[in-house]
């Protein structure tokens, strides 16, 4: 029995902790927003208000933390409160260092929140720092009559016996006055809403199924009609010659038969009427229901954008830049799922602005610009279904020559085309993966993947992205995306015995051509449609499906869909065009985050699952097929021999950690304890990549890199520097030495390192 009670208690605590997490997240968000505002504002009055607000959040969080036994969080909140209390009494001056420490405290709580029960986040140092802030005031400032502990009395702590149940809820109390007594909103976990939404969307298949039933019933009706007619005809014929007893029996049967069919016909008729009515009403209901549920899941942009001021602040401090982020129109609402998908694009774009766009204050002053750079995010509704997102900065703008150089280096652009490119065409190159203007890979950027990812995500959401730039005026990215993940119309086609959906928006024309109309030029097949020559391919070939050679098409015609955009159009041959219908995109599941040429799947009225084709991909794949016919399956040949990586690191712990991580990811690893040993190792074996620490005895990472670069044999061997030094100078030293990538340990997550290595070899 006591065991069970224990279990109940832990269950309760578990539930409470998950609630606490939600609450804490909100409070921490509010705290960091408050701190940011506080740092920005100069009005004394506003300062007091913000200090007060942050103070209250910290206090509430402290109480809630105590309720769920999160002592570390409680302790930090306690210290935070004390510091804020002195700040409130204006006994210390707000300084950037102070804010750093306060932000740090908020971050630490956030970390604690996400550390599993057993995990450890060191907090003693932080507590000491916060305590120093307090005492710092006491030594330098005037001594006050009111010692800090007394302050806590004015905010009486909950009695220790206070039980968990109402603990968290009760903590909202200090917020009265800000919030209306009765809230007009109810908090529902997004998980629940998500499943509701999925159910709602599932109703679409009921609607589609009903369509099918109606057609089936109508077929049945037709059949019965024909039967009835036939019966009547024969009936008449038999009736004319009645001379025999057997005929009488047959007549009787026919009469019965006739009545029976009549009855069935009338039944089918009523059924059709009923089903049709049902379909109409269910169809209407489903549409409305979906619309409303979708609306329920609309979130304002601010729910995402709110996290960015802090990110920009941290980024710019690291880079010694001054950047102000201005958010406009963030109250506009958009489907939660789209917003989630837009998170990475936003991060990439904003990082780009800070990293590449905005100059250092000194540079800006030289160019007669205000010291502080400006990054603006503007959201505006352009139609009922679409919003425009404008991310712009007033930095140096994009250096087109560098873009072109990078493209040439990566073999995307030929030297020949280098000078022919128009400004707009050159600008388009930045969306190509691997093109980067940055000379080195860092944690933040330079991999040349960012903008490619942004474009891919935006296009996947059915949006478009464009960019404008001017020297010294900065650059601006314009994204137009739909507000809801609506169903769209798609054309159901058959190729190589399989069904596929092609989004109707990508289909310019559906037509049929004769076999003779296909011309061959330079190994490419072409057809002429309305006077324009376009390349011609078979959909089955592009999708790498075995071609069905049944050319017994009675008509002798080939069905063709003209797909693509104005500049790039390709004619795809299919075996059959089934119909056009409403489809709902579903993801392919976690194991298939990205499949070539397939963007998702949909479920037909019959319950059958059909892949939806990704048209931008198809166009790209087609080009590949045309240029290198026969190498389609080359992608399948995975490298059987493992890549060999040399890890140079003086700390045994780090060395073993790196070795394990890399081996787990399928690399072979050799180690060296410093630069000298590394050089020796390089002579004995052929390595594919070197991962090196910077600070090491005897020979450091910079020196090792330069020595390698000086040697012809290793000049092209990729070098990744992993370091604790995070400064511009060091990064530049890394570039000078010739390193390919520079990763800072503080933000050293393995995914990042692996991604970089993967990219380099």
């Amino acid at each position: 029995m006591p065991m069970q009670e224990n279990k109940k208690e832990t269950d309760l605590l578990k539930r409470l902790r998950s609630l606490f997490k939600i609450e804490a997240e909100e409070r921490l968000k509010a705290m960091s927003a408050g701190l940011l505002e506080l740092e920005k504002t100069t009005s004394i009055e506003k300062q007091t208000a913000f200090v007060e607000a942050v103070f209250r959040e910290a206090h509430s969080l402290k109480g809630a933390a105590r309720a769920v036994n999160m002592t570390d969080i409680e302790t930090i909140c306690q210290s935070l409160e004390s510091v804020l209390a002195i700040l409130k009494r204006k006994e210390i001056n707000p300084s950037p260092e102070l804010f750093d420490k306060l932000h740090n405290a908020v971050d630490t709580i956030n970390k604690l929140l996400y550390t599993a029960a057993g995990g450890q986040v060191p907090i003693t140092k932080l507590i000491q720092q916060l305590a120093d802030l307090e005492t710092g005031k006491q030594t330098s400032g005037t001594t006050t009559e009111e010692p800090i502990p007394q302050l806590q009395i004015s905010f009486p702590a909950d009695p220790p016996g206070h039980d968990t149940g109402i603990g968290t809820a009760g903590q909202d109390a200090p917020d009265i006055g800000e919030r209306p007594a009765v809230s007009e909103t109810v908090r529902i976990s997004t998980e629940k809403l998500d499943s509701l939404l999925r159910q709602a969307e599932e109703m679409l298949s009921i609607k589609l199924a009903l369509d099918r039933y109606v057609t089936d019933l109508q077929d049945l009706q037709d059949m019965l009609g024909r039967w009835d007619k036939e019966c009547a005809k024969n009936h008449q014929a038999i009736r004319t010659g009645k001379d025999n007893l057997q005929f009488a029996k047959l007549l009787e049967f026919l009469d019965w038969n006739h009545n029976c069919v009549k009855l069935m016909e009338s039944k089918v008729n009523t059924l059709i009427k009923l089903t049709e009515n049902d379909r109409r009403s269910i169809g209407g209901n489903v549409d409305n229901f979906q619309k409303n549920i979708r609306k329920a899941l609309m979130l304002p942009f601010s729910s995402l954008l709110a996290t960015f001021p802090k990110m920009i602040r941290d980024l710019s401090r690291v880079q010694n830049k001054e950047v102000e982020l201005i958010l406009q129109g963030s109250e506009k609402e958009i489907d939660k799922r789209i917003l989630e998908d837009m998170k990475d694009p936003f991060i990439h774009l904003l990082r780009n602005c800070v990293d590449h766009g905005i100059e250092t204050p000194a540079e800006r002053e030289k160019n007669k610009k205000p010291r502080c750079g400006k990054v603006t995010v503007t959201i505006s509704q352009i139609t009922g279904h679409k919003v425009e997102i404008l991310v712009s900065d007033d930095g140096t703008g994009i250096n087109l020559d560098k873009v072109k150089e990078s493209a040439v280096k990566k073999g995307i652009l030929s030297e020949k085309d280098y000078n022919k490119l128009s400004k707009q065409e050159a600008l388009e190159l930045i969306f190509q993966s691997e093109v980067s203007t940055s000379p080195i890979i860092t944690d933040i950027s330079g991999r040349g993947l960012g903008l490619a990812i942004v474009r891919e995500k935006v296009e996947k959401l059915g949006g478009i992205i464009s960019v404008e730039t001017g020297p010294q005026t900065g650059s601006s990215f314009r994204i137009i995306i739909p507000v809801t993940l609506a169903t769209f119309r798609g054309i159901l086609v058959r190729a190589a015995e399989q069904l596929f959906v092609i989004p109707s928006t990508n289909v310019e024309r559906v037509t049929r051509i004769r076999q003779e109309e296909i011309k061959t030029a330079e190994d490419k097949e072409l057809v002429s449609l309305k006077g324009c020559a376009v390349s011609f391919v078979r959909l089955a070939d592009v999708l790498e499906l075995a071609r069905q050679d049944n050319k017994d098409k009675s008509s002798g015609y080939i069905l063709v869909l003209l797909l693509g955009t104005a500049e790039k159009r390709i004619a795809f041959a299919v075996d059959e065009i089934v119909c056009e219908q409403e489809v709902l995109v579903k993801s392919l599941g976690k194991q298939l985050p990205r499949v070539r040429n397939v963007s998702g799947a949909t479920v037909l009225g019959s319950g059958r699952v059909v892949p939806i084709l990704n048209i931008p991909d198809l166009l790209k794949s087609t080009l590949k097929i045309n240029t290198s016919a026969g190498t389609v399956s080359a992608a399948e040949t995975l490298s059987a021999n493992k890549k060999l990586v040399l890890v140079v690191e003086d700390s045994i712990t780090s060395r073993m950690l790196l070795k394990n991580i890399l081996e787990a990811s399928g690399y072979s690893v050799k180690t060296a304890v410093d630069g000298i040993e590394a050089l020796t190792a390089l002579k004995t074996e052929d390595f594919d990549l070197v991962v090196s620490d910077v600070e090491m005895p005897r020979m450091n990472g910079f020196e090792l890199t330069s020595r390698m670069r000086a040697d012809k044999k290793y000049a092209r061997l990729p070098v990744v520097l992993v370091t604790g030094l995070d400064s511009r100078e060091d990064r530049e030293r890394g570039i000078d030495a010739g390193a390919d990538a520079y990763i800072v340990k503080s933000s050293f997550d393995h995914g990042n390192l692996l991604e970089v290595i993967d990219k380099l070899i």
């Binding site: 999925r198 159910q199 969307e201 599932e202 298949s205 993966s433 891919e456 399989q498 999708l543 790498e544 499906l545 579903k586 993801s587 392919l588 599941g589 976690k590 194991q591 298939l592 985050p593 990205r594 499949v595 070539r596 040429n597 397939v598 998702g600 799947a601 479920v603 319950g607 059958r608 699952v609 059909v610 892949p611 990704n614 931008p616 991909d617 198809l618 790209k620 794949s621 590949k624 992608a635 399948e636 990811s665 399928g666």
Partner: protein, 198 residues
């Protein structure tokens, strides 16, 4: 002819009757004794009985001639496998996609993933949906042969004949020669994820 002794018969009948009555309604003491004895048996802690703390609950299944077992902690559900829609441009171990109550899931043939040629093409009737918070897919199976328990800390190791490529994905082999899959390892393996651009 033998003479019938009626008295004897009456006596025997009488005895039988009391015996029968006593048998049906045991005395109070007897009842107590019987109940106590039963309670004692029931109260005994099951010896060697599988508990979730010391034992792993496994689901056993057949796939193309291979006998496999999966830790039930990773199983979301087991359902019948109807129609698999093949997906172009995916590696051979992705058999296709299925619709499970409105959710699309990929079907992964683990034999093909391990690089073992399956023996014969049998009808795949069932599917086991395995998941962690980061990963989820369906494993096809010919049949589910049942549920069993295996001691957590002493899963018998694989026979040396089985230490081929897939050994890193396996935890051991049960007494009935079911290969226990290391589902945590498989589900977190980057090689199983298909993420490819055109």
């Amino acid at each position: 002819m033998k003479k019938i002794v009626w008295n004897e018969i009456y006596n025997r009948l009488e005895n039988a009757r009391t015996a029968a009555e006593r048998g049906l309604t045991p005395s109070h003491e007897e009842k107590k004794m019987i109940l106590r004895a039963r309670a004692k048996i029931l109260a005994q802690a099951p010896k060697n009985k599988e508990s979730t703390e010391t034992h792993l609950k496994i689901v056993k299944f057949l796939l193309n001639g291979e006998k496999y077992a999966v830790d039930s902690a990773f199983i979301r559900e087991v359902c019948s496998l109807k129609e698999i829609t093949p997906l172009p441009c995916t590696p051979p171990f992705v058999l296709g996609i299925i619709n499970v109550r409105g959710q699309i899931l990929s079907v992964v043939d683990i034999n093909k993933f391990f690089g073992i040629p399956g023996k014969g093409a049998n009808v795949l009737n069932k599917t086991i949906i395995v998941h962690t918070s980061e990963m989820e897919f369906a494993i096809p199976a010919e049949t589910i042969t049942g549920v069993g328990y295996i001691a957590r800390d002493e899963i018998p190791p694989l026979p040396p004949t089985l230490t081929n490529i897939r050994a890193e994905y396996l935890r051991g082999m049960t007494g009935e020669q079911f290969i226990v899959l290391d589902m945590a390892r498989i589900l977190s393996d980057k090689r199983i994820v298909v993420s490819e651009e055109a």
